[in-house]
């Protein structure tokens, strides 16, 4: 049977997405783990994966100027819409961070000195943890292709799930609502939005839920740090009711999760009693119901 994909997102950063992802892990025995938060990957800190294979990820190409051919005419500087080329002493200087590899510069080059060469934009890791295989990645800081790196992580996660006959692929998603989030959730069986009862948490929950709705991904909500503001908890609850989103559960604000993270332990193992007494098993049951009903 084909595996199910569960992705955790939040809109706002810091609501506890990674803590919740990690806490779900022990409850899914036939699992593949994928960390799609590629410009801030943290799941490895708790899981200490053993890296089996590391591979460069080359998704973009960037301009390279051959100084032996360049006559420093400046045409490339003028045509570039990304300010990736600036005047230099012998040849213009390419600022790789800004170059999008569009190739317009080589089109106008008067001495055929510019080529577009493949460029390393991150690394992908194929690893194992005590809970199952894990695919994770790290974007080279400053790179723009996090959406594509995310797609690649998911693709490899899928393949791994097929090879190992996994039942579930659990994905730690990125914050925000743009390309990397879209790549993380498109086609998933369930997107769990981890929110917090604050004005920012609610504001961002609505935006990320709209994004998931637009992509027709089924959603559910977990309120983390419950107790911070009963006013905002109530607002979130009534938002889920009017939108018909399933509220999986509420995890109280507690030092127990923070302490687990600081000790680099999975919160639902390290503070098992706390999770169980706050309905964690019921949350797991409801997640299972949702993914197997779709």
């Amino acid at each position: 049977m084909k595996h199910k994909e569960i992705v955790l997102i939040s809109g706002k950063g810091g609501t506890g997405k990674t803590s919740m992802t990690a806490s779900l892990i022990p409850y899914f025995p036939k699992l593949v783990i994928a960390d799609c938060d590629v410009d801030a990957p943290d799941l490895d800190i708790l899981l200490e994966p053993k890296i089996l294979q590391k591979e460069d990820f080359i998704a973009t190409a960037k301009a390279v100027i051959d100084s032996s051919k360049c006559i420093n005419c400046g045409n490339c500087i003028n045509v570039c819409r990304f300010n990736a080329l600036s005047p230099g002493d012998n040849t213009p200087v390419v600022k790789e961070v800004y170059c999008e590899g569009c190739n317009a510069c080589s089109l106008v080059c008067s001495s055929d000195a510019i080529s577009i060469a493949p460029y390393k934009t991150g690394e992908i890791f194929d690893s194992v943890t005590e809970f199952g295989p894990m695919i994770h990645a790290r974007l080279t800081p400053g790179e723009e292709v996090s959406g594509r790196l995310v797609s690649e992580v998911r693709k490899r996660g899928k393949k791994k799930a097929e090879e190992t006959n996994a039942e579930v692929m659990l994905i730690d998603g990125p914050p925000g609502i743009a390309c990397n989030v879209i790549s993380s959730i498109t086609g998933a069986n369930l997107a769990i939005i981890v929110t917090e009862p604050t004005t920012s948490g609610l504001h961002d929950l609505i935006r990320v839920h709209d994004t998931a709705k637009k992509l027709k991904v089924p959603t559910a909500v977990i309120i983390n740090k419950d107790g911070l503001s009963s006013e905002y908890s109530n607002k979130i609850v009534s938002y889920t009711e009017t939108q018909g989103i399933i509220l999986l559960g509420r995890i109280p604000l507690s030092n127990k999760i923070l302490d687990s993270i600081n000790n680099k332990k999975i919160p639902s193992i390290n503070a098992k009693d706390f999770f169980i007494s706050n309905g964690w098993e019921l949350i797991i049951n409801n997640i299972n119901k949702m993914i197997y009903s779709s």
Binding site: G11, K12, G14, E100, A178, C179, T198, K225, Y232
Partner: protein
Amino acid sequence: MNIVVLSGKGGTGKTTISVNLANIAGSDIALLDCDVEEPNSHLFCNNEFTSYEDVGALYPVIAEDICIHCGKCGSFCNFSAILCTKKMNIVMPEMCHDCGGCSLVCPVDAISYETRTIGHIRRGLFNQEQQFIDGILNIGEFSSTKIIEKVLSQGLDAKHRIIDAPPGSACAAVETVEGADLALIVTEPTPFALSDMKMVVEMLENMKIPAAVFINKSGADETELLEYCKAKELKVVGRLPFFKEYGEVYAKGGLLSSEFPEVNKLFVTLWRDLVNEA
């Protein structure tokens, strides 16, 4: 002077630090919220926005009566925004990076550009006099850099600009940090925050932007964090402990520097140090 507040990890308190600095920094400043995927600074501001401006992105339009179907634009486009088929040309506006190359390769000048709206910016006042500008990316759009660019073109007449950056260390963060005089990295004493902060520091080093560190939610063991800061010669310019009362005020969109005298003092000192630092 441009001070950009950023973090790597989301939720460390970028917005808290930005809005509270703006709150005490005097009248001749502008607060810019560049976290256009999830802008939150406005939630801490009681004033309504007074003006809005759409932000557009260009995309090619092919004049079918002029086009000779040579396919050059389609094979040039590295982003597959133009697909040339026997039957018709298909333009996918959201794939276009607006490089202008397709009109350069077109032998018959059949390509022009039109604008589509991808989001907007909003202007208002933060307290009474301080300029406040934020940007919003439309739901379903892939790229926020054009909106960030537009936000950053605002408030240039202010003496100082406080810029709230998006989380992470990818393109949106790079776009925001470009041209900053000082980056204030907001972190917290957790292994997650440290790991994410390292990626931001790497980005700032590549871009040669000076940086300082602010430790939010302080109270836990900072040994690892301080060792890293020392190794990277990053100065710790302030700390804000976590108390549930602070969290409650934040949750409702309140300003800690207005509610708690000790926090007010902390931000006044921080602002003075930052201005001296830059």
